[in-house]
Symmetry: C2
Subunit: 144 residues, 2 copies
């Protein structure tokens, strides 16, 4: 399951995508519009900024905006930033591989084999669908 954090983050990005190139949006406005606790949203936006998805400006006239156009931002990137790897088990993650401690032998682990397929299936969708795609309900054929 996605955490609230990731859901909030996705909502925020979609909100900003709708206002792309219309100037920065205030955290307070975003929080109010999407029913997200403001202080919690601060953390989320900051993380997304640090990962290069958002851009921000301080001071008057400041706020948050997308750092690139919605058709350049993949959903997988947003989710990984906020919730960590897509993989169901760490030993099949491509972006954050970690060996499973309990695992005697990775090569013969039944769980690993199946979960690799699950990871690939999810990644195939989330790493080919952009924010723009999702807004217009366009899924890449390859992911269906």
């Amino acid at each position: 399951m996605l955490s609230h954090k990731a859901k909030y983050g996705l909502k925020a990005v979609f909100y900003l995508a709708k206002r792309y190139e219309k100037g920065p949006v205030l955290i307070s406005d975003l929080a109010q519009a999407e029913y997200i606790p403001k202080k919690f949203l601060e953390h989320i936006l900051l993380e997304l900024k640090k990962h290069g998805i958002l851009y921000s400006r301080m001071g008057k006239g400041g706020g948050y905006a997308l750092s690139k156009s919605p058709d350049k931002i993949f959903l997988g990137q947003i989710i990984r930033t906020l919730d960590g790897p897509l993989a169901p088990v760490p030993c099949v993650s491509k972006t954050a591989y970690v060996r499973c401690i309990e695992c005697k032998d990775e090569r013969t682990c039944e769980i690993r084999k199946v979960m690799k397929h699950v990871r690939d299936a999810s990644a195939k969708i989330l790493d080919t669908t952009t924010v723009a795609d999702a807004m217009h309900s366009k899924m890449k054929l390859s992911s269906l």
Copy 2:
């Protein structure tokens, strides 16, 4: 990510599958063999039993065993029993649908649309792959 509980549960089921029709296995033996905390494993096995996946007997000569043959047990069933729905968001779960509270309009929610695909892709694998399939690395063509 799968919880430890689900991982332990899967390991236990595979262990029992290897000993299918060779008489019941003691919790202690299973715990030791798979490096699972015994008391925690008790709960897990009990849940799997209550969901009809395992069978058990008390008293001398007792223990746990699969309640049906490994080619009749789907991985999705095990994971759902121990970790809940496969769906990344509750509003796209087929087995445990719950409306998202923060969601203004389900029909236009961008997150929902994409996550539905993700859920379907995972379910396609986990609900067509049996314990026997996983043991022999046989994936259904439909899930690839």
